[in-house]
């Protein structure tokens, strides 16, 4: 029954209906289904498909990390040998305490770093011990590094997609 176009529009409707959050009622997917005019089974099935494809990363609670005491976060940045950055990036991403790990372009001369790893801690000392772990893992593949601590949140809003 659902062609690709129809499936896409149902997915978009689900995104619009849930990006601000799921209804806190006993049957939340039924409430979403009702609001967009499809059967509850369709919402559950499409959300399961989006979870499997990675379009939905996960479903659950998102804690305010400042409230939980995780007040320190550092963006550790590394100038890593291009030949080895992919292999090492995957291993750094697997370290506990690293929340995001990406390869990004260098912007010479202003910016020489190609590997970014966000570390979190209850204080800077915890962040620094994670940075030491990363350094130990990178060994001689790293030529330079820096850690940029956030000093202030200037804006924080959720991403909106549709």
């Amino acid at each position: 029954m659902n062609g690709p176009v129809e499936t896409r529009s149902v997915d978009e409707a689900i995104v619009r209906a849930t990006q601000a959050g799921l209804p806190r009622v006993p049957r939340p997917y039924h409430a979403v289904a009702e609001s967009i005019g499809v059967a509850p089974e369709v919402v559950i099935e499409r959300m399961r498909a989006m979870l499997a494809s990675g379009a939905i990363r996960r479903i659950g609670v998102v804690p305010n990390h400042y409230r939980l005491g995780w007040t320190a976060n550092g963006m550790s940045v590394w100038d890593v040998d291009d030949e080895r950055v992919d292999e090492l990036g995957a291993r750094i991403g697997a370290l506990p305490g690293v929340s995001h790990c990406y390869r990004r372009p260098r912007r010479l001369p202003a910016w020489r770093y190609n590997l970014f790893a966000m570390v979190h801690g209850r204080d800077r000392a915890e962040c620094e011990s994670q940075v030491r772990e990363i350094a130990a893992l990178l060994e001689d593949a790293v030529r330079a590094r820096d850690v940029l601590y956030s000093t202030r949140v200037l804006k924080k809003t959720g991403l909106r997609f549709a």
């Binding site: 849930t18 990006q19 601000a20 959050g21 799921l22 806190r24 006993p26 939340p28 997917y29 039924h30 509850p40 559950i44 959300m47 399961r48 989006m50 979870l51 990675g54 379009a55 939905i56 990363r57 996960r58 479903i59 659950g60 609670v61 998102v62 804690p63 305010n64 990390h65 409230r67 939980l68 963006m75 992919d86 995957a90 750094i92 991403g93 697997a94 929340s99 995001h100 790990c101 990406y102 390869r103 990004r104 372009p105 912007r107 202003a110 910016w111 970014f116 966000m118 979190h120 940029l148 601590y149 000093t151 202030r152 949140v153 200037l154 804006k155 959720g158 991403l159 997609f161 549709a162």
Partner: protein, 147 residues
Amino acid sequence: MEPVDRAIVNTLQGEFPLCERPFAAAAEALGIGEDDLIARIDRMLADGTLTRFGPLFDAARMGGAFTLAAMAVPAEDVERVAGIVNAFPEVAHNYARDHALNMWFVVATPVPEGIDDAIARIEAATGLPVLAFPKEREYFVELRLTA
């Protein structure tokens, strides 16, 4: 934080069920009632312990695009420039960081072609160059913190 709230934060950051009565299923695993779980999530959203509850979408796979970007803003001008940058709906997060590049923000647009345009408009509005750092490869993204 109450032990039950702590358990909710620690176990429901990604495993909220996809079924008819998901609160009932999750509550059972926590040893509490469905109504209690809903009430606790409501309360933690209201008091700021939680920032969201629901699905977390991957912007890139939704057809949207985003990039990390940075600017070097003169220290005395950070307030004014932050006001200009933050007024752009395309700017989702913006952090001051201790570096010569002292303002780091995420630019998100519904289509990939929108990124360069948004950055050009931010440069025009602020009179400052913006360096874009689009991800070339993602090794890991998952922020799960214990309470």
